[in-house]
Amino acid sequence: MRRLTGFVLSLAAFLAAWKVLTIVTGTPSYILPAPEVVGERALRAIGSGILWEHLWATLAEVILGFALGALAAVATGVALGKSVLIERVLSPYIVAAQAVPVLALAPLLDIWFGGGLFARVLVCALIVFFPIAIATMVGIRSADPLLREMLRSLGASPAQLTARLEIPSALPVIFGGLRVGVTLAVIGAVVAEWVSAGTGLGVLINIADQGLFDTPLMFVALAALGIIGLSFYSLVVLVERRLIHSA
């Protein structure tokens, strides 16, 4: 309850400062629209159905891309953490792929996978992959060697060691990666949408920009992206609290 009150107060302060800024500077609406202008534009975009259409497209990309990327990253991270050989062989490629900006990779994926939802999901998955894979690898290795020896003395197989010790000890670190990853997924979705047009909030920003100068609509799309990121981030934190009692 107190947390909610704090959030409402800070939001009110933010909107008030925004409003004051537009009044003091007298900036025209196509450069910096006042909050109530954006609010009114949001209501119209919701009423006409245009916001939902684009929101759902982005939401689908973020959810599928994050799920795919996180699953692949945890599996890869476990393998990297358990085998020095696998780490030596794979890590140069993983690091190099991460160093290439996803914005530069998206057109290639678009060509390969024909510009559909799958190509966009793949861009999201790719951007999500790195922080989660590295966090998982580090987490797996952080398992207490004393507990490792205890399990070995009880005859635990390598798979049991992973399931019963390594993954549970890695969870706090893995969730650190998931928190970073889920916000990156939103960035991935917008980048992918800019490359292969269709629907999505990234597309909506382009529509608002090109010739229309519908800056209030652009703000609506930006706010929607922020809200998506915040919601998923909170969801990850919620799951984390459920799974890790000490957190």
């Binding site: 004393l146 020896e149 003395s153 009880l154 005859g155 549970p168 009692h245 000490s246």
Partner: protein, 274 residues
């Protein structure tokens, strides 16, 4: 499957260590922990291994548990060499080593879970094991909520739950205060008298060795080996007051003399210790 192992060996299994050497890779060469170490532990006896820190006592236990392969020499538990995770051998450590994300009962039942025993049977047997070590009401607590002594009991219960014919205890009470420790010794003896099995306890306390052991194996400094065996012939159950018994005083003097003879005096602070 392991319960059957003890039924087959109602008084435990003989443990024989013969000319065992173990070394580890260390910065700047290899570190020899055990060198030509031999020890014969009769089935069902209570043997205490004593020596200062770093003399290879823990290494010896790990060799008997099958966790370390000796570079030279042979180890037998019963008729066969021990394998890593050998179900015939139970091991309790200096630290409780409980998994913090499980309850105490789940921790105690971990050896059964790893062998695919059904949850209902696990719960029943965990309760029994916790009862045996005197903390039957702590099963639902998190390991974080246990005191040091309770956590150590839980670690012991975990080693006992499969009822192994050989039980190895690696200084399980060394982190506890002196009074708790004495109570533990008495209970450990009671548990052993109730259910005889081969028990090997590592310690660096001479009075504890005298209170508990049939035979005391005195180890040399690193690289370690068993320098001398001292038999302790005292009636059981032995109480804390047994220390004043003439035969106990004699055994204690013999152990201290052995320790003094194999360790240079400047490295043997225990010789003057009460």
């Amino acid at each position: 499957m392991t319960a059957a192992a003890t039924k087959e060996h109602p008084t435990g299994l003989r443990v024989r260590v013969d000319g065992v050497s173990v070394s580890f890779a260390a910065p700047g060469g290899r570190l020899t922990a055990l060198d030509g170490c031999s020890l014969d532990v009769p089935a069902g006896s209570f043997t205490v291994v004593i020596g200062p820190n770093g003399c290879g006592k823990s290494t010896l236990l790990r060799v008997i548990a099958g966790l370390l392969k000796p570079d030279r020499g042979v180890v037998h538990v019963g008729a066969a060499a021990p394998a890593p995770g050998d179900p015939r051998v139970g091991l309790a450590f200096q630290q409780p080593r409980l998994l913090p994300w499980l309850t105490t009962a789940e921790n105690v039942a971990l050896p059964l879970a790893l062998r695919g025993v059904a949850p209902a049977e696990r719960a029943t047997r965990a309760k029994e094991a916790l009862d045996r070590v005197g903390i039957g009401d702590a099963g639902q607590l998190s390991p974080r909520e246990l005191s040091g002594g309770m956590a150590q009991r839980a670690g012991l219960a975990r080693a006992l739950i499969t009822d192994p014919p050989v039980l190895l205890l690696d200084e399980p009470f060394s982190a506890l205060d002196a009074l708790t420790r004495e109570a533990f010794d008495t209970e450990l003896q009671r548990l052993w008298l109730q259910r005889p099995r081969t028990l090997i306890l590592v310690t660096h306390s001479v009075p504890e060795a005298v209170r508990l052991a049939d035979q005391v194996a005195v180890m040399t400094a690193r690289p370690g080996s068993v320098a001398r065996l001292v038999d302790v012939e005292l009636p059981r159950p032995r109480e804390v007051g047994i220390a004043s018994d003439a035969r106990a005083t004699e055994a204690e003097a013999a152990i201290r003399a052995s320790l003094a003879s194999v360790h240079p005096p400047e490295l043997a602070p225990w010789t003057g210790q009460a």
